[in-house]
Symmetry: C2
Subunit: 204 residues, 2 copies
Amino acid sequence: MNKIITISREFGSGGREIGKRLADQLGIAYYDREIITGIAKETGFSEEYVSNISEKGAYSYPFQFGKSFAIYSSLQNNQTEILVTQQKIIKEIAQKESCVIVGRGANVILKEQNPMNIFVYADLESKINRCRQKADENENLSDKEIEQKIIQIDKNRKKYHNILSNLEWGDKRNYHLCINTSGIEIKTMILPLGEYIENWFRRR
Amino acid sequence: MNKIITISREFGSGGREIGKRLADQLGIAYYDREIITGIAKETGFSEEYVSNISEKGAYSYPFQFGKSFAIYSSLQNNQTEILVTQQKIIKEIAQKESCVIVGRGANVILKEQNPMNIFVYADLESKINRCRQKADENENLSDKEIEQKIIQIDKNRKKYHNILSNLEWGDKRNYHLCINTSGIEIKTMILPLGEYIENWFRRR
């Protein structure tokens, strides 16, 4: 059976870096942006539009932009289509090959494939620092603004998770390993982490 | 500086086994029962009495046994003495050598020494199974009774933790790594776990 590792993560905690490096270490595929591309292809929406919706709770857009009911309803349909396509694509990926999938509630969507589910988190200071390092996106933001961005994105991830499941996003009970990346250099932790994961799958 | 690893754990999750094996793997000291012995020696109470109190919230005894106020007050004094001595001994241990300390709020007591704090947990089924394996203590208990024992002991640990700190016991934010032992064989995970810990300390 394919080995599926899902990485859920707080924004700025380095979950994506962990996922990417782990996939390299384990010699398996890595899926993140590819899911967006797949959805865009299937639905005909732009990648940017899909990306905005793919980890957000439904109905978050209309209120934010104060659209009319007609647009609200059309957005709602688009969102539903995107989220349904996303689930389909994630299931297809897991059928196809061993892989690391970052975000998008893959831990819940793939429950029946018994993935290893990891949650990555960090203290606020570490998360702000990590965001700062992505200078292109965040160079003009103050610490306070980055903090607000972190809170907003995680709120959306939580909301999205709530559509898929009544399990709480980030509750350690729903993950096999929870990694606090505060103050650590991720690349130094990948080797033992990869071995831990391989042993975890071996137990079956 | 000494490397201090604290293991907090749900009852039945195998935290003690992880602690013991990790100490062997890392070639450092392991403290659990030794703390009880130390407290008993310093205070003059029996090891059994100390053991009953050392991870419980103060004032839990009187209500349980319905003692009179005089006995209540004396128990309260004993508990305070035991908990204060425990803190002193744990601090002495951490000053003396690198070690693994299981339970007793060592993560909070040793905060200033920057220990690596691990939380070990599991689903109920796994915890009941692990308790079953300790046949001597639990052989006459039904699953329901073991479940009640697990809930009661963890409640006491939480209460004890609340005396030491306003941080929540078991909240992943207060630990560097949270390990779900559901369905895994602990000894197979120790090697990568030990390496992860060594790398964690190296970052400083």
